[in-house]
Point group: C2
Chain length 386, copies 2
């Protein structure tokens, strides 16, 4: 177990009545609020009206940034930064999924510097000195951004999708009401689950592989996600299943599953150019990339992948080599993704073979788990995914 630091100050309000805690949170923040959201779904669901009424009752002056897209882009961040600077925004309230929250985090640090936010933070990784505080109301469980310090932004001009971390971008609070996810389109649930599982894998499949509390928690979480997804897809209003998916996706990236682990993130890095160039949903990209990444690299950690097969999928290891058991576990993973209707190939994502060279060239190779990843490895993995 590696030495670790754990720190996560986000206040979570979780449950059917979570939104009723918004007024108490608003009581301690400034008057001028930037409300950030995506398309029309929060208006259609009535959430927009409930939230704006609470903001009004709290005496807040509200400015709006709407139209945040999946794979949120630099242009939208600049728009938000300008709004904040022009109106002396004191607090950002993000209502939506990971894209809306990530965009809000980038605005939060970008609005407090005279530097270009992209260059300073997402390219040069400078330490942010100040940020506008933010809170979130989550509508789409997937990215874990509601309880982490990370933000991922896409620069459409350069074709880059980069991340940034800062303790200043932990949300002050996050409101998680599983009933808000009842009306999500099926593909968004599926992409969210693929994202959640991928996050757990990025942490679980990395050294050290000794027996650890962290790994045991990761396995428990994977089993919960898989079981709850099957239930939720059958009955979209099963509260317990929805609550389990939502809390699992949040827990997966709250830092607890990093503790003591090297962590990987190579599959995320392979996926980022897919989103940056072809604008595919992040979770859909991961559903295609990650099982092939596993297949390609599992030979370097057969015992760990075999453990995954046994603990998560109940594979019987009797009379089989670790590698055989590992392959069975990866087959179970693919079968689960097929069962829930996740995409399986680059073709499913509308990405042609001819793009592989360019996608591999754009892949950040700095992260890997059991064996250093080369550009040739990335190409091979993407070819497996055709």
């Amino acid at each position: 177990m590696y030495d670790f630091r754990f720190y996560n100050p986000v206040r979570i309000h979780f449950g059917k009545d979570a939104l009723t805690h918004l007024p108490e949170e608003l009581a301690s923040v400034g008057r001028k609020i930037l409300l950030v959201y995506g398309g029309g779904s929060i208006k259609a669901s009535g959430l927009y009206d409930r939230v704006t009424a609470m903001l009004q009752d709290a005496g807040k002056e509200v400015f709006e940034l709407s139209g945040v897209m999946p794979n949120p882009r630099t242009e939208k961040v600049y728009e938000g930064i300008n709004l904040c600077k022009q109106n002396d925004i004191e607090f950002i309230l993000a209502v939506g999924g990971g894209s809306v929250i990530d965009c809000s985090k980038a605005i939060a640090v970008g609005a407090k510097t005279e530097r270009d936010f992209w260059q300073a933070f997402f390219v040069n990784w400078e330490e942010a000195k100040d940020a506008i505080p933010l809170g979130t109301i989550l509508t789409l469980p997937a990215t874990g951004s509601e309880m982490d310090r990370s933000s991922v932004i896409t620069n459409w001009t350069t074709g880059e999708k980069n991340g940034y971390d800062s303790d200043l971008t932990y949300p002050m609070f996050s409101i998680l009401d599983p009933t808000l996810t009842y009306t999500l389109p099926r593909n968004q649930i599926v992409n969210g689950v693929a994202d959640t599982l991928s996050h757990i894998w990025e942490l679980y499949f990395s050294e050290p592989d000794t027996e650890s509390v962290t790994d045991a928690l990761a396995e428990a979480l994977m089993r919960s996600v898989i079981s709850a997804t099957r239930t939720a897809l059958k009955d979209p209003t099963d509260y317990v299943a929805r609550a389990n998916i939502m809390w699992a996706s949040t827990f997966a990236l709250c830092g607890m599953l990093n503790n003591g682990k090297k962590t990987d993130w190579a599959s995320h890095n392979i996926e980022h150019p897919l989103s940056a160039v072809f604008d595919v949903a992040h979770g859909a990209g991961l559903a295609v990339v990650h099982p092939n990444y596993m297949q390609y690299f599992c030979g370097y950690a057969p015992e760990r992948y075999a453990r995954y097969a046994v603990q998560v999928w109940g594979v019987d290891p009797a009379g089989k080599s670790s590698l055989e058991v590992a392959h069975e576990g990866i087959r179970c993973t693919r079968e689960f993704f097929n069962e829930i209707g996740a995409p399986a190939t680059l073709t499913d994502l509308g990405i042609p073979e001819s793009a592989i060279e360019d996608l591999a060239a754009r892949t950040d190779l700095s992260c890997w788990a059991y064996k250093e990843m080369t550009r040739e490895d990335v190409k091979a993995i993407l070819r497996m995914a055709l």
Copy 2:
């Protein structure tokens, strides 16, 4: 799953080099420090010298409160409060186990009021308005106090052992170095493990009993604790086992296992008078009380206890009723406690049958899980424990 709030701002530094983070933490706290510790063990181990050298290098003025005993008492808290008030203490550094940390938390809130700390907080449960910030260096994994907001203090005059919670008593940081636990006496490890398991049971054995992420995490944690304890007792310097025990005991009470659960705490409440009157170690008392509590009440939630038996102890449920499986799980629990040398009876603790009436009379009956607990129930459970 019940609605829940989760909030835990404690910064954890965990690992072999965790103590090297003390100077960076000290940089942001006041100059006048109260160093709180127990007996001579931190002097014998050299930890006292390392910590005081770091305090000196950081330019701190150090005051000391030593001799904090197991089941920390009101007298020691008053002594600490006086030291804080007389010397304008700005920060409390607790070096020890749960007793030292709990005592420090009580001092932290008590020093910031003119009221009597015991009456105001531990009897009337008034909301603390201010507290001296504190940090901890943990030497004994058990109570979880290093990452929670709770404190338990014994009033030897009244024979009460009461608790108090406040967001103001979350440690600012906690330093957890598993190698500091290598030299612990065996019975302290065993008592700590009993305390840790009991904490998990207090949360796990309570409604709702639907499939939940929280329960899955609890089961994973129990299996980890049991496995790591067996290893650590065989080889006291097995780092991974020590690290797993330490992190599991901290995680057990960080709030993650409360999420969505009613929680119980009746076994803790039955144990408290045992400590308050007979000064038995808290973990030892729980090792005696909790399995009997399970046995006595499992009939009110046989499926939950059967699930525990299957998931934690690998009991084969085939052809058995839930209650039969439940009883097997409780038998496994008792056998594990016997195996590691935990006390099993009131006699082991030196408590005579004649004390039962008085102990039951002192038990706080306000907490329970599946069935309201009466004083007769407490007596029956204590009689089972003879």
